[in-house]
């Protein structure tokens, strides 16, 4: 217990002293996960809306695939992206393996199904409620899309937050495709894994504190969104 307490005290001192390497790790983590979430939102939100609104052959299978994709194991995604980007792989010529870009690609693959599946449910629920009213107004299905997306705004934002939470806390995929290289691809989660295995608990705990703060902030934002949504949605 004493050892852990001492480590925690050192961790706080490390944070307090604003050590540049520590902050570089935090900054890279946020950059990678935010970029991946933005890309996942750009793909997942329209995909989710399309799956909720359009009827086409194979839609059922695609819905099932996207829903199943919410539970993709990060290490498997890491492995697949590794195979794609490795020198012998189909995208090997771009030399992306062990770069932050590779980490963004892996996390985008992890987060897109989460955003798409949650967005599809949000839009489908809304459509069920609005369908007769929108038909009565004479709005064609395509023209109803902006109305539905705007009215689902809080749930869509929550979907993006859920995706970011998953990306920020994930270690398996970025460890494989990023390689946890110091001052290049080391993020909070990969650094915690490494420092713990080396027995450097202070560093690990300091980063752990920051990671927990990030996750708390995400949850706080989600709670705030749901309060605002209740006020608007009655």
């Amino acid at each position: 217990m004493g050892e852990i307490g001492e480590a925690a005290a050192t961790a706080l001192r490390l944070l307090w002293s604003a050590e540049p390497e520590l902050f570089a790790i935090v900054a890279l983590s946020l950059e990678v996960s935010l970029t991946a979430t933005a890309l996942a939102a750009a793909i997942g939100l329209p995909l989710g809306a399309l799956l909720a609104l359009a009827r086409f052959p194979g839609r059922g299978a695609l819905v099932l695939l996207v829903d199943a994709g919410m539970g993709l194991p990060p290490v498997v995604v890491g492995l697949l992206v590794y195979l794609l980007l490795s020198r012998a792989g189909p995208l090997g010529e771009f030399g992306l393996l062990f770069t932050p870009t590779a980490m963004v690609i892996a996390q985008t693959i992890l987060v897109t199904p989460i955003v798409a599946a949650l967005a599809r449910r949000a839009v489908a629920d809304l459509l069920e409620d609005y369908h007769e009213h929108l038909t009565s107004l004479g709005l064609r299905p395509l023209a109803a899309v902006p109305v539905l997306l705007f009215d689902a705004r809080y749930r869509l934002a929550t979907a993006c937050l859920a995706g970011f939470g998953r990306a920020a806390a994930e270690v398996g995929a970025i460890l494989i495709v990023g390689g946890n290289i110091r001052e290049h691809t080391r993020t909070m989660t990969t650094a915690i894994a490494l420092e713990t295995s080396k027995g450097a608990l202070e560093q690990a705990l300091a980063l752990g504190f920051v990671l927990i703060l990030v996750v708390l902030a995400v949850n706080l934002a989600a709670a705030g969104l749901s309060t605002m949504a209740r006020r608007i949605e009655g």
Binding site: S136, P146, D151, E233
Partner: protein, 249 residues
């Protein structure tokens, strides 16, 4: 601007009379509407009366074009379906309100009907005044009370400058005070030349509002008569029993 009807912007001609013949709606092997035939004339207020499950809501939805009948014809005086759409609206038993402000909710409806942005503000203010919701523009539409929500739905319909308004049991879940306000608005709309077609199972309400009555029972049209005749000399045993407040067998 997406969202507008692509129909010709010409004003729709008179929608009514509507001649309905042999209207049938089936589901799961059951006839929910069974061979209805009648003429809907531009009276002030036609009430579709009948017990629960008679097919009243279903008939309103078919007339408004939300559902297609399995058989039968509807011959409107205005032949163009897009122009017809522009001149009618539907108020649901549980009003469907958007997840935005009162103004936003009305603005979407006006935009969908192609009303230019500069005209919307005035129309919204006028419609809210008609239903006694002045000053509610910024409130979240779904945070209003049940009665206020139904009045907002009526304001939305009025803002669309319609000829024909369908109301599906608009006061079924309201208290007497809210019901009185809604009925006053309905009368007001009728005074302004809107033809009201409304379903109810509330006899008192039918007596207060109806000029014409279509009495439905078990998916069949049992009687179509002017209100005076229907309430004083009902022709069918089903209508007599319903008016006497007896429970259907």
């Amino acid at each position: 601007m997406i969202g507008r009807l692509t129909a010709a912007r010409a004003e729709p001609g008179p929608l009514l009379p509507l001649e309905v013949e042999g209207l049938v709606v089936e589901a799961g092997g059951r006839r929910l509407l069974d061979g209805l035939a009648f003429t809907l004339r531009p009276e002030r207020c036609t009430v579709i009366l009948g017990p629960n499950g008679a097919g009243k809501s279903l008939l309103l939805r078919v007339l408004h074009g939300l559902l297609s009948p399995d058989r039968g014809t509807l011959r409107w005086a205005e032949p163009d379906p897009d122009r017809r759409r522009l001149a009618q609206a539907f108020v649901f038993q549980k009003p469907v309100l958007l997840r935005r402000s009162v103004r936003g909710d009305l603005a979407v409806a006006l935009a969908a009907r192609g009303v230019p942005r500069r005209e919307r503000r005035a129309r919204i203010a006028e419609a809210l005044a008609l239903v006694g919701l002045e000053g509610f523009e910024q409130r979240a539409a779904r945070s209003l009370s049940g009665g206020e929500q139904q009045r907002l739905a009526l304001a939305r319909a009025w803002a669309l400058r319609l000829q024909l308004l369908f109301l599906d049991e608009p006061t079924a879940s309201l208290d007497p005070a809210a019901t009185r306000m809604v009925e006053a608005i309905v009368r007001d709309l009728a005074d302004r030349g809107v033809t009201i077609v409304m379903s109810t199972h509330d006899l008192g309400q039918a007596r207060r509002l109806a000029e014409e009555v279509l009495f439905l029972y078990g998916g069949r049209l049992i009687e179509a008569a002017d209100a005076g005749t229907f309430f004083t000399r009902p022709a069918s045993p089903e209508a007599r029993a319903f008016l006497a407040g007896e429970l259907p067998a």
